[in-house]
Amino acid sequence: MSALSYSAELDLTHTVSSATDHELVLAVGQGDEAAFQEIVQRYRSQIINFIYRMINDYDRAIDLSQETFLRIYTSANRYQATYSFSTYIYRIASNLAISELRQRKRRRWISFFSPFRGKDDEQEQEMDFPAQAPLQDEVMIDTERRKAVTTAIQSLPEKYRLTLVMRDVEGLSYEQIVDITGLSEGTVKSRINRARNLLKDKLQKYV
């Protein structure tokens, strides 16, 4: 009996791991917890990264990522496969991230608890490059460069940041970005190009 159930479990695991996103969401809609777990496994890293790049607050990014998956879970029975599932989940995540940014703008709320933020990052709009003296330690150089890139991304206006992060950080296609944002392809390309030009100016030292 136990051997049989173990075999059935293996079969189920194999089925879930080889299922498409669409099949998984349909299974979640029917109450399949294993399918939901598989979706979380597939997308959690991407979604956490995406939201973190957008809002630059690690704790809040984790919360919003969990909120994204919670919405997937609660609305799985209403999911319609008009677009790919990745588009669907990125749309939810981007809406949450934008909502968070707007709330912050309204409340002028500043996160003091993000482990990835340093004292230098508190002035979001101003770049604070490392000192001109050459750094000996490669790790330190790398850290400074990443910090500069993060700050430069955060200094971008929200609409440019969203498209740039999707395209150049997450590596989404233009078609996906068009579907997620609901913008025209021309607008998406224009915003990405504008964001790149802004970043080039801010990161001259590194490009």
């Binding site: 990522s65 890139v149 150049d168 950080v169 190009n193 590194y206």
Partner: protein
């Protein structure tokens, strides 16, 4: 010196090369035509380098680590959401002012409509009933006229706007010897009105009732004129209907809350 003929072509080519570079995927192989153009055009070459470096820089951003307890906390949130959706407290909607205001307004409107419906129920005519004492009908004709008066639920209008009106609402609770009157009667009277203590009364001599004519409009657009004496004794009105063919019909205390205006 670039001729005018060559200039647009060169700019067009550079623009096409840049657009191709901008929209190319990160790990895609750049076409040879683009590479050969960049070798010749220093501006495009510089642009290509800068773009490539920027994209590499952005792609090299460190991936944020997923916390170990991510799944556990997600499970807890899902469980909390399920619990919350099953046990929504009844006062939860009060936290939303717009919803609370709408619900309150709807409740008030509902109460008003309900009260109006039951108080002035248009279709609820009383069934045939026998009105006995204290109303004494000397003839069947007088009884029929009185029933017509009570049963008529149409709003009676006067052809003469200057004519004062006497409205006699008969409430559902106003019982006349087990006779539930649900209709509203409005009687038009050609009499003078006075106001006293917030009420308007028809002036009538106590001992010599003055006869007046009222015009009753029925639902089928027919009408009839009845001689009526309305006598008010203090706060308790007494409606007296005089029929020329019969003796006086008097009902005392039938309509305790008469409104006269």
């Amino acid at each position: 010196m670039i001729s005018n003929k060559e200039l647009p072509l060169t700019l067009t080519e550079c623009r096409m090369v840049r657009e191709t570079l901008e929209s190319a995927d990160f790990d895609v192989v750049i076409p040879i035509a683009i590479i050969s153009h960049c070798k010749k055009c220093l501006t495009c070459q510089s642009y290509s380098h800068q773009l490539s470096n920027l994209r590499k820089l952005l792609r090299s951003q460190m991936q944020v680590q997923t916390p170990i307890d991510f799944d556990i906390k997600l499970r807890q949130k899902i469980a909390a959401h399920k619990h919350a959706s099953l046990n929504v407290p009844w006062w939860k909607w009060m936290s939303q002012p717009a919803l609370a205001a709408t619900a309150t307004a709807l409740t008030i409107v509902g109460i008003l409509i309900g009260a109006d419906y039951f108080y002035f129920m248009p279709g609820a005519k009383p069934s045939e009933a026998t009105i006995s004492t204290p109303i004494a009908f000397s003839t069947p004709v007088a009884k029929k006229e009185f029933n017509n008066l009570l049963n008529n639920d149409e709003i009676l209008t006067s052809k003469n706007s200057d004519t004062p009106k006497i409205a006699v609402p008969i409430s559902p609770t106003n019982k006349i010897n087990n006779y539930n009157v649900l209709a509203t009667q409005r009687i038009l009277a050609n009499k003078r009105l006075v106001k006293s203590n917030g009420r308007t009364y028809l002036i009538q001599p106590r001992n010599r009732p003055e006869k007046i004519n009222i015009e009753i409009h029925y639902g089928d657009n027919s009408s009839s004129t009845l001689p009526v004496s309305a006598i008010i004794y203090g706060a308790k009105p007494v409606v007296t209907i005089d029929n020329p063919d019969t003796s006086e019909i008097r009902s005392s205390g039938i309509i305790p809350e008469s409104k006269i205006f």
